[in-house]
Symmetry: D2
Subunit: 493 residues, 4 copies
């Protein structure tokens, strides 16, 4: 062991998904080299009275995503990852998105170029909007092998949503190539029908966004993608679960032994449908999909978090500006909800919000907090143990966090490219004091100091978590065309 | 009261869905005029020692249905209703089927012509395969008003299956016009994918029919159509539930208060996937969709019948000949399962099979038997009290049934147009001795005596059972564009 | 058939649990002799515009029950059955109650003497409070054979509640002798503990009655008695289910195929815990056990009624006077809730209340109404088809009911021995116009005309409904000591 | 940081409940002082190629427990903790057991004397068999404050089982004094009844042990204790869950947000009821309570472990000798199952069995394994972070474990006081190479080297996990007599 480390974080309370202990952290070569006491370093940071958390891993981040329409997301990698650093997040998984008719490979290549300006580490989900043979057979395996081991599919949204036949082919290809599939699960045709009917009735204000996407459309879509995953034996994660009713579908699948995991986001724990009904066009600031629900749903989500049905809390950062013709007002000052771009910024607010709602309010323990925002996401997406924990050999991605500091959330504090935060004025306990990426400070004194381009692409190796179970409803693996035994296996047996 | 009736059925034990009592039945003008003792009639039938049941109502019968391919169903109205009479069924609901691109109205008109040769009473479901505006807006309301108060939709099968957007429009139109919707619920794309993969792997024997359509495809589709029905508040019946797993989806909807009802068929209680694996091509005789399951599923179905989750047992009579190039062998002596026409004959076997499996084996009481095969179907489809019971004023549709007679089921005994019955050689307790349609004998001495054209179309008036509940997941009725209250109703409240 | 009947009820709409039809009813020898049209009788009652229902069967009626304490139920057979007649109920099942340390046989004999003054027909449950060998082995079989084919057990209440060992012995003895067991299911020790703690805290007003008996005590007790019944294979009915949470326990047992049935009472559909909190001591008027819940529970009960989990609605008539030192005020003007006698009068209000809440409000159909208040109770307790329906051969127990009449419920209208009704002032649609017992009028023109002693004991023969299933968790029938197969049957198989 | 540690475990793969990483462990003062690389120590142990696990925490161990009958458990603290050390377990929670009529305080004092001979660390559950006021009010709070923060109750077994009133008082006292309650949950009266009936029928062989205790008795008791815990808001752990049916009761409580946790044991994952039916009296070797079930139950338990319903796997080490008149043969060579002492040895086999069945067979990951056998038990019982993990400041309780070593389990290898192991001859992958207690080796080279008396009592401080939630079914906390709000809270709201 070196007697002198590059950097020592001294005297903090280290929190992992399992442990809480006071120790110095010795960092060398950008990695955690030692945990102990009285460590010495070339540089020493005093963490006395602070928690030292593993850098947040946010597995659901929309940054600089190309758009086919006039509305644009307002974060580049430069601004988006500034916001990440400010929020204690050191790794983001963004979405390399195939345009319909286009190449997924090209999309990834373009996206890697753009991402070179990132201030924190990153990797990509592969969003497939057009699962042609070329994409699934030729491009996907190579891209997955190159380290992007997750595929994103949408069950709704024109231009990107897949139909069931496409979902099946895509999930089968993902499993074959060794990728986890993450899913935006909402029933497209019901949303389209309800939207059409509401608009036809002149009900176009932001509040009707929630009417057009009731919980039942989410429950249904989860039930459907679970069925597809069950036949194909593909591990899946359900994105942004909005309440206990959709969570129950996941719990039922888990109880059958399936590899189905749930994610939720801070907005479903803090924002309700009533926010959509704020005066004027303010409600548009709270418009995201699935739509916000109510406080009873938030309570149900906490129960699902405690039982483990939901194991990841990401931001679903998907920002557009509010007072901007390329943002929420793309269809005018009072555009119909169907034309308002979905999505809110949330990267920087994630840790404080979840700490406040979870730990301060007594819903969860400290270690569970770390598990939800760093460890479990890292494990599920193959970033672990490089990311997601504080252990010897892991990247020295660290957050100094003051659990007792009060702060009022403001847009300025988000350090993002947007002109608002839906959490403006919200008071929380817990504050990011400093963020370190591989031993280098990227945020301190309320200032982003991480260099543009300081972040790196993190290729993910194959990992055990997403291996299929080898269990099928029939004695036939349709992905590999293997007959498993010569007897139909029946459901009730 | 007339002192002398046209006909008296004397001394039998009358069974209704609620009662079992010994009485004479006095018939006048084709209707039950009196129940009492020592009734006198111009004709007297001795029913001593026999049960007198209401004529069976079979709400799921494919007869003389036009086909777009080379395979043909083998029953005309003449033969199909002969089989009905022989099986103690006096009312059948057949399917007036729109061809894709064609008119539903024309299909109904053609079908009414064909049905003039029926020997028992009949009415039609309206099968929609192409829900154009013309069909839904112009044709459907008139057809429903004319007495065909049920719409049939398929969620699978090329050429007839509807996608979700079509299902939504069709269900909305059905509700608006006052029709119940009955649903063939299986996930089309999964079946297509599995079939393709099995065939590609050379697995084409009849047994693979069950592999291509595992229970999960049925469970999924029920969950989906329930979600659609929930948003639209449309009462639906799920056809041919094959086991406890899909039944559970129905039970969950019912527990939420929804108007969702389940039907099953004798084949799911008596035939298993092992029958598909009989030597040679014999398995094709047992090929129907959803596919046969196992004995555990049959037991689960009986439990679902007892709790009321499933309330109707119909035949799904859908016969093609076996040894016939227009039947099961349309693709040759060993055609792949994907080319073999689905469906089996079952009209005549329904009552004896259910009596044997249900009453004789102690699964259900006599009144429940009558409820399942006559009363409940009649109520659900608006035929009651004209059909489905023995009460003053009801049609004198009666079955003299010997509960103690043993019989061996044979193809000849089915009196249908087919060349086989899947129940060949099966021994059952219980036998139809005679069948009366509106006071006229149509079957006795093992002989069909009902006249061709003796059956009549039964128009159905609007009926209470299928009225929507007026309950929606959001405060908006999308079918009528009515805002119900100015507050989002959230799932977990 | 006689050309002239003793009595003809002409022109009404006859309602059974399955049918609704217009017919005359011919009555001879106190029985329904014919249903038809234009029947002639020595006497003719005009029922034009009225429903003709089978006489109500109330399977849960406390009348003239001996008391060990100073409080006394206030109805004798004379007054109680007057109330029954006024409420359209022609058969009551009362409770012959063994005193602890006493003989069950003697209790029955005494009770038969008292019951000779009844104005409507009656039979007894056998309430066992002290299951000694003598009672279970010597007395019970004879009493059951004599026609009292149901045993009542309490899981709570000092002096009458049985412990688990006693419950097991009693249920086993009941099954062996061929009786159904009906159960008051609440967790005694929790109620005792909560009562003690509430009283110690000075919380003694009537409203705390509901606090001392939360739903969880009912849920627990049902789960427990179901387990006992499962091991012994004894059919049971759970009395007075108060909401969806306890109903769910019954539904779970039913879904496993068990013979477990649920009963509820009008009070759980119409009275809430808020009534217990009326000013002064008024709340005592609404005190019964299990305690009243809330409107959400009432809605949940209707759902459980619709799905069939709950199939019987009885009154649990258990009246004490309010302003009486032998009634609700036995412990003074403001006695602590623990000292106030439980129970309310309800015999006469049952049909109008259920008709109003059920049929008028659209929760249930007419036939279901009849099933709940007459047919199903009669079937479950072996009174059918003598009681509970209108069919040839059944007792001519008939109710002429005006479904369109409004009435305001009053104490005077209850015709009972009490000084109040909890339904005072409640407005309902539906009114009993006349009641006939075996062809004799016992109530008309708002006046009880049934003779004291006009009612008869109805012995019940063995009946199929309560036969055990022959299914056990282990391959051993402990009641008969029969080894069923030489292999342990395990739960998860 | 000291440049030289007392001891360095070098080069192993450290496993915690969250992390797996290669590091040296520096130990000073019996505690983990550092995790890093190239650490130097006065002594160095080479762990290359081995896993380094936190010392096992076994929270369910019967050692030297006084017996009122002739049968005796065969492990003293000397032999029992030798077995613990051999099995990689460094902390045991044993049972200080009040004799009925006796003092709990005295029992604890006696037990502390006996425990002075322990070779590994220990703490006690407080088993209450006679919850007198003196015990609950005077003794219990002091004992809990002294560090025994868990109370054990039995719902069955003569002489020790509590009735419901006793359970309520005991759980309330435990909550008030700040202790978790762990529960042996089986329905006593059903077991007594079935045992009596089986013995009366001459069915006394060991196999009938499983017949006398079917899963239903466990399901019932869990439902009951959950209800009690719900009313009192007491956190509880359900001991030795034997299959998915009882686990479901726990999952239902957890889904409601309750603090109810499940434990299972290796025997329920590896031994089945068929083992009870081995020739002769061999079955007695596999007799424990709850009884062994089948392979389907074991699979269901793994599912419950994966979803987290069950979070702890302990041994329930409760050994008696087989061929011994004070052991299994206390009632003779073929004593009836009712007289054979329950319980098997299992301390030493726990880690290898769970590693083999869990990790080797692919049911769980390494970190989950550590969580189940060390971390989660330590957290749940207030031993964390002193015990249950490898972190700076924790006790240096370490296990060197070879995950690739095959071994055949033998009785000699158990190092206990018994004359058999139920796992004799079972082949597993994974072997304890060495065990360290606070930095001192207690087991290596297949030899127990830990000193008699080397173990210490571990007092447990109050800890967050077992704090009640403050949620009650009614607005009244009965334990503290606090009115929470002036409105009844109803179940369905």
């Amino acid at each position: 062991m070196p007697t002198t480390f590059d950097l020592v974080v001294r005297g903090g309370v280290v929190v992992t998904a399992s442990d809480v202990f006071k120790a110095d952290i010795g960092i060398a070569g950008g990695k955690v080299a030692a945990l102990g006491t009285d460590l010495e370093g070339n540089r020493v940071v005093d963490a006395d009275g602070l928690l030292v958390l593993p850098g947040g891993v946010d597995t659901h981040v929309h940054i600089e995503q190309p758009s086919s329409g006039p509305a644009q997301m307002c974060d580049t990698f430069e601004t988006g990852t500034a916001s990440a650093a400010a929020g204690g997040t050191t790794t983001v998984i963004c979405f390399a998105t195939q345009m319909r008719g286009g190449s997924l490979k090209a999309a990834v290549e373009d996206y890697r170029v753009a991402a070179r300006r990132a201030r924190v580490d990153y990797t990509f989900h592969l969003t497939i909007s057009d699962p042609t043979d070329v994409v699934l057979r030729d491009e996907l395996p190579t891209l997955i092998d190159s380290g992007c081991r997750s595929v994103k599919v949408f069950m709704t949204y024109d231009g990107i949503g897949l139909d069931d036949a496409q979902l099946i082919r895509t999930l089968a290809a993902a499993r074959k190539a060794g990728a986890l599939v993450c899913v935006h699960a909402e029933h497209h045709a019901l949303i389209a029908y309800l939207s059409e009917r509401l608009v036809a009735a002149g009900l176009t204000a932001p509040k009707y966004h929630a009417w057009a996407k009731p919980t039942v459309v989410e429950r249904e879509a989860i039930s459907r993608i679970v069925a597809i995953a069950e036949v194909l034996d593909v591990p899946i994660q359900i994105f942004h679960v909005s309440g206990p009713e959709p969570a129950e579908e996941i719990a039922r699948a888990q109880a059958r032994g399936m590899k189905v995991w749930g994610e939720t986001c801070p907005q479903y724990l803090t924002i309700t449908a009533e926010d959509l009904d704020r005066p004027g066009f303010e409600g548009a600031k709270f418009m995201f999909g699935p739509a916000p629900r109510g406080t009873a749903e938030a309570e149900g989500l906490w129960r699902a978090i405690k039982t483990g049905t939901i194991g990841v809390i990401s931001s679903d950062h998907a920002p557009t500006r509010f007072d901007d013709p390329r943002g929420k007002k793309v269809a005018g000052e009072n555009g119909p909800f169907t034309k308002v771009p979905n999505g809110i910024p949330g990267l920087a607010a994630r840790l404080p919000l979840i700490f406040h709602e979870g730990v301060t309010k007594g819903n969860i323990e400290l270690s569970k907090f770390v598990d939800l925002i760093a460890t479990r996401p890292a494990k599920l997406y193959g970033l672990f143990p490089k990311k997601g924990t504080i252990a010897v050999g892991s990247d020295a991605d660290l957050v100094l966090f003051n659990p007792r500091a009060y702060q009022t959330l403001t847009n300025a504090g988000q350090h993002h490219g947007g002109d608002y935060t839906p959490y403006e004025g919200r008071e929380v306990t817990g504050k990011v004091i400093a963020t370190y990426l591989r031993g280098t400070c990227v945020f301190e004194n309320d200032t982003v100091v991480g260099a543009i381009g300081g972040g790196s692409f993190v290729p993910r190796a194959p990992y055990a978590e997403i291996e299929p179970r080898g269990v099928f409803p029939i004695p036939f693996d349709p992905v590999t065309s293997t007959v498993l035994e010569d007897k139909p296996k029946l459901a009730a047996e």
